[in-house]
């Protein structure tokens, strides 16, 4: 076994434009979108028939028939059918987690190349039969005699026919993610104006990046869409201010409700993929290295007992990652903080600036401090692009790698919050 650990290189990525739910991708399945995304990656890098070390991908909303989603997508793609694949699921952290898994295997010399990907469809969502009906159907299947079958069917009530549609809520609290985030926003006193400002910046940055051709080598159009459908280049403070709050309306006297459909990400459909490899493999294939994935950390918080906000785990993961790498929060040229909600980004930044939080919660001597906001999500993020859960990590990794490639030096921090009180963070460095 080889003893030295090496750095895993990010060679680039591909994604399809993200669509709003029930938009142009309404009839596209996760497998369709993931296959198209892999094919776009293959076309960009000339990997037709190539046996890549492995493909790791996943979806958050997944049909039971898609138990081998990634492998099926590989078989439908232009990659070699001899390419192994597996599914990963860590809520909104899935996309970044797959990149970390592939990078770690490359670092340990178990792989020379790999693809990390993620896909999600909120339109083509799995609908399950209710628990009552499911029990009846299982009993019916077990029944051996006509009498037993009748007995099973006799337990069927009309109410059992109501389907179970997946919802964006936490099973242990019954609260939607937006309601959780709204509590956190109140706790950290995140203003409506600050949230709308961040939202407007996201739209303007993403639009400018498209206009400059930044995404020409990151995005492949799909089903008639060439840019993210949610993107509103003319987004303004006035237009955002007109939107009514949708989350946190029942908190306190209701006046503290600040979260709107504008400063929260919409349900989205889309897929993304990232090509990772060893520097040797990259050189053999004449593919320039865009960045290296240096290190990563995941954290989880106890949001169930109200100890911490649902989406605050990155606030804990980042200081652990910084400490391990001997870095300060200010040692980065780019910050890619996933905009699940504008308030989530702002609450995380506020926590890092708060001496009490950093001392009591993080066990630090002082606050991590503020970041240069001009380095935050410079080419837009989820508020503008949309957020197909498992596809966001790949979008961010490929975007940041390209930013670092264009700058030619430096370091970037990725922070992604996820359902279940989790957070996945990583450091990328320019090649």
């Amino acid at each position: 076994m080889a003893s030295t650990v090496r750095r895993a290189a990010i060679l680039g990525g591909n994604r399809i434009p993200f669509a709003r739910t029930n938009g142009p991708y309404a009839r596209a399945s996760n497998q369709d979108m993931l296959t198209a995304t892999l094919d776009g990656l293959v076309a960009r890098f000339g990997l037709q028939g190539e046996r890549v070390g492995e493909v790791a991908a996943g979806a958050v909303l997944k049909h039971s028939r898609d138990y081998n989603l990634t492998r099926e997508a590989v078989l439908g793609s232009a990659l070699s059918p001899w390419t192994p694949a597996y599914d990963v699921q860590q809520a909104c952290g899935t996309g970044l987690e797959t990149a970390i898994l592939v990078a770690n295997k490359i670092a340990l010399r178990q792989l020379e190349s790999g693809v990390a990907a993620g896909v999600d469809s909120a339109s083509d969502a799995p609908i399950a039969v209710g628990e009552d009906l499911r029990q009846v159907l299982l009993e019916l299947n077990r029944a051996r005699s006509p009498k037993a079958r009748l007995a099973a069917l006799a337990r069927l009530r009309p109410s059992a026919l109501r389907p179970e549609i997946p919802r964006n809520g936490e099973p242990r609290t019954g609260l939607s993610m937006g309601e959780h985030a709204a509590s956190t926003a109140v706790q950290w006193q995140i203003s409506r104006e600050a949230q709308d400002e961040l939202t407007m910046a996201s739209h303007r940055h993403l639009a400018a990046a498209y206009d400059s051709g930044f995404f020409d080598e990151l995005v492949t159009p799909y089903l008639g869409l060439s840019r993210d459908q949610n993107l509103r280049p003319d987004s303004s403070m006035e237009s955002l201010a007109r939107l009514k709050p949708v989350f946190g309306t029942r908190l306190g006297d209701g006046t503290q409700a600040t979260m709107t459909a504008g400063n929260s990400t919409p349900l989205s459909d889309g897929a993304s993929a990232v090509l990772l490899a060893s520097a040797d493999w990259a050189a053999q294939h004449n593919l320039p290295v865009q960045a290296y994935l240096v290190d990563a950390e995941t954290a989880a918080v106890d949001y169930v007992h109200g100890e911490e906000g649902l989406l605050m785990a990155p606030a804990y993961a980042v200081p652990r990652l910084l400490a391990r790498n001997g870095l300060a929060l200010q040692d980065f040229d780019f910050y890619e903080i996933h905009e699940a909600f504008a308030s989530t980004v702002l609450a995380t930044l506020a926590a890092w600036e708060d001496p009490e939080f950093c001392k009591q919660r993080l066990g630090l001597d002082g606050p991590l401090g503020a970041i240069d906001r001009d380095r935050l999500n410079v080419n837009g993020s989820s508020l503008a692009a949309g957020h197909p859960f498992a596809a966001t990590g790949g979008r961010i990794v490929a975007t940041l790698a390209r930013l670092l490639k264009e700058k030619g030096s430096g370091r970037g921090l990725i922070s992604i919050c996820a359902a279940g009180g989790q957070g996945v963070v990583a450091i990328l460095e320019a090649a």
Binding site: G40, A78, L223
Partner: protein, 447 residues
């Protein structure tokens, strides 16, 4: 799209009706498949005291062609090759007539008439110049007289350029030139090393790196596929908005997709970075991307005029300049630009398009010495009526007329344009520079 009329003429009833009424009867053209013999039958190699006899015999023999020096009337020929480099007088022309006239009756379906002469321009006397130029009119007329998919073309061979002839000889005899007829092509003195024969004539582009603009569909996709079949690695370029189809083409031909707007300032840089960065070199640039914005000139606004010229002409000029300035194009490099018969003959409602496509011809002729300076060439192809999604959208009557007004009585296929580009792309085609080859079945318009 399918040519229903032609299919009808192939049926027993349709055959009788069209024959009786004297209607056009388009043939099914012989097209190239890798690995097949150069010709489906024997060839007659005749001459009137020409200088190419030995070269032609050696080359065709090596290509596996069964050669005959005389027509005894017992067999059908797949090709008639006439070495007219010795034609220097009216009397010589009569000798040519005596040989070719009876032989023409024995030319089989999709037969090839290929006449080789010295360029008229280098003649030292009026009589010689006249005799050579006479061949031009002769060949163009025979192209119109040939039946059953036959083509006739004239190749002028400069003295000393004999070694650079083979790729052209093979192109015109093979099924690759199915829709090229009534053309005059000049093979000039090329550096002999630069016209080296490929190891395998079925894979003449092995090891070469090509970029094709507008590769997401239609003729561009066919060019990408053809270049790839001939051994090249193909960088398929198109607008970012065409990315989905582009990726499909790239994956099909085993190439790479490059989403780039050719009118952007960085286009040349993006192309060279991709080709050289990924594949170490760039040998072949095919400027295929083009748009039409038809409008009568008097009603044409500024934006309509500018957009067509920007995409069809200015982008090519700037990319060529960028690639030459950065020394990306070196020995054996090839630029092939898409012109159009509209650029030669003009077209009502297409002043902008025709201007851009005529501009391409000017660009190619003027740039030829620059390319020669680095050991490369630049040529243009001018497609006539080609069966694409664009022509399928034409009104029925207009389309039917446009389709039939050429000597082959049918539209060409995207692959016919692609094959011509592949021939010009070969390292062995170094003797062709600054030329415009029409792929139009000898269209009445612009031919």
């Amino acid at each position: 799209m399918s040519d229903r009329y032609r299919d009808l003429t192939l049926s027993p009833v349709g055959r009788r009706v069209t024959k009786t009424l004297g209607l056009p009867r388009p043939a099914v053209l012989r097209r190239y498949t890798p690995g097949e013999p150069l010709l489906p039958g024997p060839a007659l190699l005749a001459s009137s005291g020409g200088a190419l006899g030995e070269v032609l015999a050696r080359t065709l023999d090596a290509a596996g062609v069964e050669l005959h020096a005389a027509d005894d009337g017992t067999r059908e020929f797949a090709a008639l090759v006439f070495d007219a480099t010795g034609v220097e007088s009216v009397a010589d022309l009569a000798e040519l007539h005596a040989t070719l006239s009876p032989a023409l009756r024995h030319l089989g379906p999709s037969g090839r008439l290929l006449v080789l002469s010295r360029p008229a321009g280098t003649a030292t006397s009026a009589a010689v110049g006249a005799a050579r130029q006479a061949l031009d009119g002769l060949v163009r007329s025979l192209a119109k007289e040939l039946r059953a998919g036959g083509t006739a073309n004239l190749v002028t061979v400069e003295e000393g350029a004999e070694q650079a002839l083979e790729s052209t000889l093979r192109f015109f005899l093979s099924g690759r030139s199915a829709f090229v007829s009534g053309q005059v092509v000049a093979v000039t003195t090329a550096d002999r090393d630069r016209a080296a024969a490929p190891e395998d004539w079925d894979r003449p582009l092995t090891g070469r790196v090509a970029v094709v603009t507008g590769a997401a569909q239609g003729i561009g996709a066919a060019i990408a596929s053809c270049l790839s079949r001939d051994g090249a690695h193909v960088v398929c370029a198109d607008l970012p908005a065409q990315g989905e189809r582009l990726a499909g083409v790239a994956n099909q031909v085993g190439g790479t997709a490059l989403q780039v707007d050719i009118t952007s300032d960085r286009a040349a840089q993006r192309i060279s970075e991709h080709a050289v960065g990924r594949h170490g070199r760039l040998d072949i640039v095919v400027h295929n991307a083009g748009i039409t914005r038809d409008r009568l000139f008097a009603n044409m606004d500024d934006a309509t005029w500018r957009s067509v010229l920007a995409v069809n002409l200015d982008a090519q000029l700037r990319i060529n300049a960028g690639l030459l300035d950065e020394h990306i194009l070196g020995a054996d490099s090839r630029i092939i630009a898409a012109s159009s018969t509209s650029g030669i003959a003009g077209n009502r409602g297409q002043a902008n398009y025709a201007a851009s496509k005529a501009g391409i011809i000017g660009m190619v002729r003027t740039s030829a010495p620059d390319l020669a300076g680095v050991g490369g060439t630049i040529n243009a192809v001018a497609p006539g009526f080609i069966e694409t999604e664009m022509t399928a959208a034409m009104p029925f009557a207009v389309r039917e007329v446009a389709r039939r007004i050429n000597s082959l009585k049918q539209g060409g296929l995207p692959v016919d344009v692609a094959e011509t580009i592949c021939w010009l792309s070969q390292a062995a085609s170094g003797g062709l520079n600054g030329q415009v080859v029409r792929v139009c079945g000898q269209n009445l318009v612009g031919a």
